[in-house]
Symmetry: D2
Subunit: 386 residues, 4 copies
């Protein structure tokens, strides 16, 4: 029996994993979009498929017959190069294509990509395929966090999966890791896959600093709440304080005060808060205010990268103090794929680490995640530095 | 074989009809809410069911076991008396309860109401039941217009039913009906069912007027468009002109200019405009501007009611010049049902007639429909007077 | 000494009165616009002047030299026929033209109009002049209410005039006036000046009703507040209740709870509430809710007009139940003056009466004032009917 | 004759300079606020005065009698520590206190501060006084840019001062300055005054780079416009492109296309664009897109600081690629003054340089100015790097 091409294996496993994540859903769960940031699960399934069709099948497969001529309009996310698209906030207003049609679309595209491997694949296609697979893995994380948002904001608070563990206990002893002043190298090294925003390995000068090996826990954050952290303007950025007051924020996302006890919505349904597990679902503003309250600070993304092999590798995306900016000599790709990362390099913060929603092997110590500072539907937490 | 109680028969036929209207839908179509005015079909199915449960089963059936304690929160529309409810614009963000659960809910409630007829039903229950049935019939009209909006705003423009006729040709010869000046009686008479807003039969003085027996057609409205009606501010109310310019309105709802030809979305999909059929899907502002352009006017609701037996009884809700106000001696009911009509008697216009979406026998010549002047997702048209 | 032409006398007295109303202002008070509905006093002074220049001097005076070519852009209020204009909400962003320039503009235009009387004036000019004078008188009322808003929303709460009486005590005994059922005539009669919206004298049929000779007082309204009127949704229209909750309304405009005592801002500064004076500064929603709470209702504008000679002629604009609609056979004027009234005949309520801010002889028993139901910076009150 | 204390001299000169900047204004120009970012000139005059009163006179002068107890509410800008304040966007709604009152307030406070020098001043007071003076100098820049906005957005486009030069010709030859890779020191050194955000002198590692000695000119930017720079999404950040399309941006602020020729509003009124002068009034997004179009980039603030002694020291605030973040070991002050800089260190970009509106000696090569990326009412320009 011939061995399967490793990239085809990787591709097929990734395709299957997306579908596995959706297995517990009712058809209705695939459709809704409670806030603009959260896309309907069926949109993720269609969009990741469209990516392969648009960037590989259409340009590289002779006589490829597009599944449906309007799907490009429906499933394009933000690629201006590729043409018009459904306004992001309208994704949840679309009942069609149905879930069944999207699974059929997936099947055609998965099959067509697989067929490419009947002959040796070109370097161009291999590069695009690798990006497409990693792109789908990125969306798997969003798929899970979006599902959590959809179910966790439903008044019935349904469970997604009674076995999933979002809040693993942290058995490690908290320690402060000290790093010496000096010049360090930052950025991706070697030939393995990475995104363009990690490239341009370069030097930075770091001053002496210490960083905690463990993440901040629910219990620590509860002390901040109980000490009035959400009422003390002096701990917050001005725009963070506006965010707190105009949204009446009193706790991390998914926390509910039920009869004077804090509970939180998890993918297993509503549960009492566990104290010794890493905090999740906070904004950058909350991370910053907590650090201020402690008399400490957040690490920069460079400090984090240098120290990372000594850290308890966590289960949260960790807000850093760093703004999301290009590395020296950053070059964006030509054409539509140049829109992947570069055009977001303003007004966002870098997060490092990875989370329990991150697919296997999808993150690395040079990986740069980024979000606007007020967002908290991802598994976002924090680590302290000084 | 015992005959079925006529009210039970009426009840069961009505329940069945709501479900029949939804038969062509995919599960996904039941879920979405593209604009706040349009509710998800599954919400209509649940809400009409909740109405029977809340106002009849809970108070009148001893030991009645509520289907689900949270459904009152989900399916209450606007009854402040009954408690908190999902914000209207959030109905489309709810994937649960699922469609299947709602059909099961319907079944339990339909069954429980049917069981009431095992014994003679009381007068109180009979009154509430009649309201509940008419309430569900009202929602059947919304169900169809909401479905049209959901499908007609989907980029795939799917068909709902290939046999449905929304634009019946008008075979009648246009004539002007003249009515003499004098005192006329207005309002509901007799014991048959009507809503509280039709009661308080009273006298009004009408001056000589004429009213057209036929509705305005697509062809007539096309002349208005071609004559620049949407660009001439002098034809419009000030707030109508604001509406036109800030929403960039160029035609009735569902009209599309495709390669310089006007087409419209119908429940059979996109089709060329038919000229000799009654116009639909216009706002009050458009009705008024059209009449201004003709040098004519809209009838008042009183003129309409007096002349109605001589009118081609149309297939459109007809905008009138009248504001929706209480009749002399209007009395609203006590409790939650007092919220049915009275609290909307400000800032809305009266529509008379009925439409192809109106259930059988659901309208009457004294029936007062009402909407805000900018809305046009109903089958709204117009008739001229002078 | 030759007698002055009565219309010139009327014109000059009106021009002088506008300036007298502004005499107590600081230059800065002329400039600001705290909300879109409130125009800067200097804008009123300029706009009423522009009206004479645009509609009389430019078309009828040969070789008339416009004061400044850009003033038409600055001082046009809403006449689309006349061309582009400053967006209403931007009036308060304009520091230029200065107050001194506007007084100089007024002087040139007043002088040029006066010069017209050196020869006999034509009928056309006489008609326009009469409209222009009444137009300026209308703006005098707005001038005073806008000044009250500007000063009354300043944290320093300055006094405008220590002698002005806004809340005259009502010495009359409250009585209910009964009017018999029958056909009545409504609308302006005779040759004296009136607006186009009062014309088209016509018959209406009124049923038996009673109407109170006195206005509702502060003291009566305080009972409504103390009885929780602002917390009882069942008393309110649905959109009124939205208005109360989203604006957190607890009392009429200008009322302040100071150390548990109700005070109100008057043009003499902050003062304790007087109980036996007519209530002012309420919205239609509040008027309606108060009447509901009393188990009574507001009169229609027709009831008011028929009963008016038996009423304590009040010091408030009285909200009626009537919507602002055209009378039968209403004809709007050609050209720009056709925009004066007709284009506002949707979504507004009629107010009858007049107020302490209404200039002498400016109102009549057929006068139809109109505002959107949520507005309350005018001297708006209410009268009960049943 | 005794010499005046140098700090008193500095104080008095600064106070006088603010008033000199306002000398050409009409009273009305002091009052308006066309957008939230632009404060009324009278507010600047009052706020800078309040700063001295609040932080020096009240705490350090025994029996000091506050000028007016409500002025703290009116003139506090953003110091949460000090109490409630007028909402920023409402500053232009306040006609009182009048301009004359504010000048009288200034006089009292200037006098009271001067009197402090009758005795030796303490170190505490000296520190606060220095901050207060620099604070007023900062507001002098805003005063001029706000005046430009107020006059430049008035339809009459009045001139402020016929002699002022905003666009000095750049006589320098353009050259590229090359800087070698290595570790450099960044931040303020020495004892002279600086803001807290410049402190914490520290090392950074810079890679080889080149930076242009001259600023980008109007002429160069015109080529970008003519080449369709505002229509090419690939040159822009995603949020920059949103800004361009939703605000319909076609050129820098104050540029007007008059009969197919570009003109711009200057403080001398409308003038033809000069090509050989430094560009002004652009957003960060425009700076970035221009650099992309050139195939170059913006410098970081560190590159700028290292190279600055070789640069044509310009007349514009220069957008850098750097986000506004704290330096290592940044410590914010205790109490209200801790709110001066630190709480803005998120979502803003650093600008370096200084502008023709910057007061004498108010900027330095370590000075860090910061604004949100879309703002352009300051004299903002750009310099290229590679």
């Amino acid at each position: 029996m011939p061995t399967m091409h490793p990239m085809l294996e990787f591709f097929l496993a990734t395709r299957k994993q997306s579908e596995k994540l959706c297995a517990p859903l009712a058809t209705e769960d695939y459709v809704v979009q409670p806030i603009a940031d959260v896309s309907p699960p069926k949109w993720h399934l269609g969009h990741t498929t469209w990516f392969f069709e648009e960037f590989i099948l259409k340009p590289y497969v002779k006589n490829y017959k597009t599944y449906h001529e309007d799907f490009s309009f429906v499933f394009n996310s933000y690629y201006e190069t590729v043409g018009k698209r459904v306004v992001r906030a309208d994704r949840g207003n679309l009942s069609r294509p149905t879930v069944a049609q999207i699974y059929s679309y997936r099947e055609q595209v998965t099959q067509a990509i697989s067929t490419l491997f009947d002959a040796p694949i070109t370097e161009d296609v291999a590069v695009l395929l690798e990006i497409g697979i990693h792109h789908e893995k990125q969306h798997q994380e969003l798929l899970l966090t979006d599902i959590k948002y959809i179910l966790g904001n439903n008044p019935l608070l349904p469970s997604y999966d009674d076995k999933i563990i979002e809040y693993p206990p942290d058995a490690t002893q908290t320690e402060w890791i000290s790093i010496d002043e000096g010049v360090y190298e930052i950025g991706h090294k070697g030939d393995a896959f990475c995104y363009d925003n990690e490239l341009g390995r370069h030097k930075v000068y770091l001053h002496d600093f210490s960083i905690r090996n463990t993440l901040v826990t629910n219990g620590e954050f509860l002390e901040f709440i109980n000490d009035g952290g959400y009422e003390r303007f002096d701990l917050w950025h001005a725009e963070g304080w506006d965010w707190v007051t105009s949204n009446n924020i009193k706790a991390p996302n998914y926390w509910h005060l039920v009869a004077d006890n804090w509970q939180y919505y998890t993918l297993q349904g509503l549960q009492p808060i566990q104290l010794n597990v890493p905090l999740a679902h906070i904004s950058f503003y909350e991370a910053f205010a907590f650090a201020q309250w402690k008399g400490l600070r957040l690490p920069t993304e460079f400090e984090w990268e240098v120290a990372n092999d000594k850290l308890q590798w966590g289960s949260r995306w960790e807000w850093t103090e760093s703004a999301y900016l290009p590395y020296p000599n950053y070059k964006k790709a030509d054409g539509a794929l140049g829109e992947y990362n570069g055009k977001f390099m303003v007004s966002q913060k870098v997060l490092r680490g990875g989370s329990i929603a991150t697919p296997n092997n999808h993150t690395r110590h040079t990986y740069r995640n980024f979000f606007h500072p007020q967002l908290r539907w991802q598994y976002t937490g924090l680590r302290l530095a000084k």
